[in-house]
Every structure is written in C-alpha cells, then in structure tokens.
C-alpha cells in the first residue's frame, strides 16, 4: 500500500498493475494446486505400494486361515473375527452413551459450572492420545476390575476413545435442527423428552449415523491402545460363537476370551525381519484400508445426501 502513496495516482500503469496482480494470484493458486496434488500423490503412492506388495497374497485362503509361522500359509481369520467382535462391543457401548451425552449437553444442560466442566472435558478428551486410553485400560480394566486381556476390555477402551467423536457429531446434528421444530413440538403438547424422542433424534439421524461410522472406522484402525492392554498376537483359534444352538441362542463367553485384531496382526507381521511376512502385512493393510476407506466414504455419502434432503 506504500507504493500507492509514493506514486502520483495518475502515473500508475493500471493495466500493468492488474496484469501483475493476476499473474501473482495465478502463481499462488498453482502453488496451492501443486501442494494438493502432492498430498493426493502421497495417498496414491501409499495405496499403490500396499497393493503392489500385498495383492499377490490376498486370496480366499488368506481370509480364512489362522496366523502361522510359515508366512505363505498365514491368514487373518482370527484377526477379522476379533475386529468384528470388538467393534460390536464398541458400538453397543459408545453409540447409546454418546447420543445420550450429546442430547443432555445440547437439549437439557442448564448454563452452570457443571455443564461448563462437562463441555470442556469432552473437548479435551478428544485430544488425549490414544495410547493414554490404553494405559487407562491397562490400569483400570485389566488389573483394577480384573477383566483381563479380553474382547470386552478392548471393546470398552475403544468405546471410550470414540465417545467424543460421536458426542461432537450428534451435537452438531442437533444444533442444525431449526428451533421451530422444538417450538412446534411444544405447541403440540410434547414435553421435552417427547420432543427429543419423536422429533429431534429422528431429524438428527443422518448426522448421528455419520459420526458413528467415522468413529467406528477410527476404532477399527486403532492399534496402540489394544497393544497396551497386552492383546496376544498369535491367536490360532476363534472365540466361541455369540449365537448358540440352544435356548436362549445367545451366549457371552466370547466377551471374556483372548483375541487379536487386524491392525495388531499387521503390526506383528511388519515387526518380523522376513520379507515374506511383510507381504502378509501389506495384504492385511489392504483389507484394513479398504474397510476404513469404505466406511469413511459411506459417512461422506450419508452426510452429502442428508444435506441435499434439507434443501
């Protein structure tokens, strides 16, 4: 701006100035696009590298075999079964708890110090490194409560880990519902709980769904907290099936069984010196990345459609 005051206005070559400005803008925009392409190229090379190393190993046998000392015969059966069961526990705990906490904070919480404490606490929890949750689980669940290194412990710790994600997503969804909906519900004679149950939760469903999917996809990939609780890495058996042949057709023994999950299996294979195991790791990585990318894609899709439906 100093340039302007130093030169008499009439002496400025405006077309040249405009051209120069446009050139600089363009140069910066090109720089921005290059950075973007670099980031995308990193993602692409990551996926291509994994695919090149792991695709030859990926087969039906790989999905249906137990881990083995011989790399060519090893598979991820116990890992993906473990991941599914742990995710089941995580979802059953984190989703209702997260939605309930969000509803309280958004629709009920009075403006007082207690609400502020809860509020700040949720924000801070989202920033706690995942391995700290692992230490919490080790001290509290594994030894304190004596739950051991089981599917239940892993499901619990991952549930706590993704709780902030679900709370934040649900709150955003509730906040975006127009105030008129609440007023109309009250006008029809609904009390607050009826408003929540009949109008707000249904309207917030896409947002809640998105948050749940994003949270679960994060939980699937989490390795550190599950290592910290001491999950075994060589599991050549499956937990008991949750669905039994006789009445009541459900059993919960599997909750208290040792397990392994996909990211731990992958970590275990990466840490071995033999190259053949690295191919197994890459193949497990493909399965893992496919699961998380699919879930994230699904979340983006749900959100996009919900936004379109609102217009």
């Amino acid at each position: 701006m100093t340039v302007l005051s130093a030169t008499p206005l009439a002496a400025i070559d405006y077309p040249a100035l405009a051209r120069r400005s446009r050139r600089r803008d363009l140069a910066f925009a090109v720089g921005g696009i290059i950075v973007m392409l670099v980031a995308m190229a990193m993602l692409a090379s990551l996926v291509i590298d994994l695919a090149a190393d792991g695709l030859p190993r990926l087969s039906w046998d790989f999905l249906t075999s137990f881990p083995s000392r011989r790399p060519a015969r090893a598979g991820i059966l116990s890992a993906w079964v473990g991941t599914s069961l742990v995710m089941l526990v995580t979802a059953v705990i984190a989703v209702p708890l997260g939605i309930a906490a969000a509803v309280y904070l958004e629709e009920y919480a009075p403006r007082n110090w207690l609400s502020d404490v809860i509020e700040i606490n949720v924000t801070n929890l989202a920033g706690v490194p995942s391995i700290i949750y692992g230490l919490l689980a080790l001290g509290l669940f594994v030894y304190g409560l004596g739950l051991g290194e089981t599917i239940l412990t892993a499901g619990l710790v991952l549930a706590l880990l993704i709780l902030p994600v679900i709370i934040v997503a649900t709150r955003e969804a509730l906040r975006s519902i127009p105030q008129e909906v609440r007023e109309a519900a009250a006008g029809l004679g609904a009390d607050r709980w009826q408003t929540v149950r009949m109008f707000l939760i249904p309207a917030a469903r896409p947002g809640i769904l998105t948050g749940t999917i994003v949270g679960l996809s994060r939980a699937i990939g989490e390795t550190a907290p599950v290592i910290t609780i001491g999950a075994l890495t060589f599991i050549a058996f499956l937990p008991q099936s949750p669905i039994g042949p006789e009445f009541p057709f459900l059993n919960f023994h599997w909750l208290m069984e040792p397990f392994t999950v996909l990211p731990i299996q992958m970590f275990n294979w990466i840490s071995r010196p033999q190259v053949a195991f690295h191919a197994n790791a890459a193949a497990a990585g493909i399965v893992l990345i496919a699961m998380t990318l699919l879930m994230n894609g699904l979340a983006i899709f749900v959100r996009y459609h919900a936004r379109r439906a609102l217009r």
């Binding site: 993602l43 309930a100 509803v103 809860i118 009250a186 709980w193 009826q194 990211p263 840490s271």
Partner: protein, 311 residues
C-alpha cells in the same frame, strides 16, 4: 420451556395418570442422560487417577529429579537408569520434522482452499483430505518403514533402517489434513467485510490473503499448529514401527530413537509382571506424555476460543 412446569387441568380425553406417567418418564430420561454426559468426566478422572497412582509408586523408588535430568533411559538393565530426556528428544525431533512438513504445506493449502479455490474444488478436496485422515496409523507406519525409508536411503547413504526422518515426514503428511481443516475454518470465519474492504482498497487476492485474512485469523491458525503438534507428540504406531526402539539422546533425524509412545508399546509387547518397577515406568512415561499433550491442547483451544470471541 416453562409451559411444561405449569400444571393446568388436563384437556378432555387425557387422563391425569398419563400426565403423571409422562412426568416420571421425563424425569427419568433426564437423569439417565445426565449420567451419560457425566461419564466423560469419569473417564478423564480415571485417566488422571490411574496415571498418577502408578506414577507415584514409581517416584517413590526413582527420585523425580533423576527422572527429569538423567540422560539415560535403561529401565530393564541390571543397573537401570530412568531419565526421560532420551525419550523426550526422540519425541520432540519426530514431532518437529512432522511440523516442518505439515505447517508450510498445510498453511498454503488452507489459504488456497479458503481464498482461491472455486467452491467445487473445495467441496471435493475437503472430503478427500478427510479420507487421508481416516487411514489407520499402522498403515502409515508400514509406509514409513518399507517405502519412505528405502526411498530416502537412495539419496542419503548414511540413513539408518530405523530413523526419525521417515516417520517424521510421514507423520507430517498424516497431520496435514487436520492442520488444513482447522486453519481453513479459521480463515473462512474472518468476516466477509474485511475481505471486501481489502479488495475495495485495490488489493489482489494474494495481498488480501497475506495482509488481511492471515493476520486476522492468526490465533486460529496458530491453534491449528499447536493442536497438530499435540497430535504429533501423541502419535504412536508410525514411530513404534519406523523410528526404532533404542532410547537415544539425539536430535539427529538420520538416527533412530525411541519416543515416549514407542517405549510404551515396546514394554507392552513384552510380558511385564503387574506392579513391577518396569511396569510402572510406562505410566510415568504416559503421565509425561499426558501433561505435554494437555498443555498443547489447552493452549490450542484457548487460542481458538480467543479467535472466535474476536469476531
């Protein structure tokens, strides 16, 4: 919502019993929701309790001065040393490399997305960046150890197999989406009037971006850096896989060095008896990590809030 608390005679056709039941259900729902919201406070409290109680036991054996000043970390040796400094140097070095990658790239990309990019590009790039954020960290670890390190070794002959450079760079790419999204939010939140004022004074986009938008959003952008730093410090799997497991008091990125998180993973993989001194070390290390990230998070959120209050 005072309408709910005033007791009018029920309208014809509605039994007083229904209203009484509804009141009870409403109160019960409120209580349950409150308990769910308080659960998050309980999580924080138990994290602090577990870390503190185990660390206190540890500091009864190892003086806290030794912990903070000793330059060796050899907890399982015959003559053990418990100095956190080597683990801290590894943590800080890797995080610094990550920030050296993420800050310039992230800021540039954020400015491009916020000030230059057409809406369509922004709407496409932001979800794509979110996908990048969804990749499990163990996969990034694989990438750092088996792709980036061999690639770098072609250009840097003295690079060790386990080094801090490759995981640092990969971590930079990993936190890039987060840095971009927080700082882009900050820039987009700058009031339109400021932007338009700059244009009215004859600024081109580049001048508006660097002389008006970035200074106005500075505390928000700083928050993005600080929160990114917190993530880099707490990140586990990339360093546990690719940075080596030897505590090493060095800031040389070409060497390997264990970070706090990598040490916790390493100890958790072994079979340490509950209550032993080595078992307690991971809680002391975890407490250090928790304090570090908490400081970053509090600073980051304070900066962010100050920025929001300014507008």
């Amino acid at each position: 919502m005072t309408a709910h608390s005033t007791r009018l005679a029920p309208p014809p056709g509605i039994s007083p019993g229904f209203l009484a039941r509804r009141r009870l259900v409403g109160l019960a729902a409120r209580a349950i929701l409150f308990v769910a919201a308080s659960a998050s406070v309980f999580v924080t409290a138990s994290i602090v309790y577990v870390l503190l109680s185990e660390s206190l036991d540890f500091f009864r054996t190892v003086p806290i001065v030794d912990f903070l000043t000793d330059t060796e970390w050899t907890p399982v040796f015959a003559r053990p040393h418990f100095g956190i400094l080597p683990l801290l140097s590894g943590t800080v070095t890797v995080a610094a490399i990550a920030l050296l990658v993420a800050i310039p790239l992230g800021t540039m990309l954020a400015i491009y997305l916020s000030e230059f990019a057409p809406t369509k590009v922004r709407e496409t790039v932001k979800p794509a960046l979110e996908l990048l954020e969804g990749v499990p960290t163990v996969v990034y670890g694989y990438f750092a150890l088996l792709f980036v390190t061999p690639l770098l070794q072609r250009f840097i002959p003295g690079l060790a197999t386990f080094n801090m450079l490759a995981p640092g760079m990969v971590m930079g790419i990993m936190i890039l989406p987060y840095v971009v999204s927080v700082s882009e939010d900050a820039m987009r939140a700058v009031p339109k009037a400021l932007r338009e004022g700059a244009y009215a004074l004859g600024a081109n986009r580049l001048q508006a971006a660097f002389r008006v938008i970035v200074p106005s959003a500075l505390s928000g952008i700083t928050a993005a850096y600080v929160l990114g730093m917190s993530r880099a410090v707490g990140e586990t799997m990339v360093v546990a896989i690719a940075a080596g497991q030897n505590p090493n008091l060095t800031f040389n990125p070409l060497h390997g060095a264990a970070t706090i998180t990598a040490y916790i993973v390493q100890i958790s993989l072994g079979d340490l008896p509950y209550g032993s001194l080595a078992y307690q070390t991971i809680f002391a290390a975890g407490l250090t990590l928790f304090v570090l990230t908490l400081a970053f998070n509090v600073a980051g959120f304070a900066l962010r809030r100050r920025f929001r209050e300014a507008y």
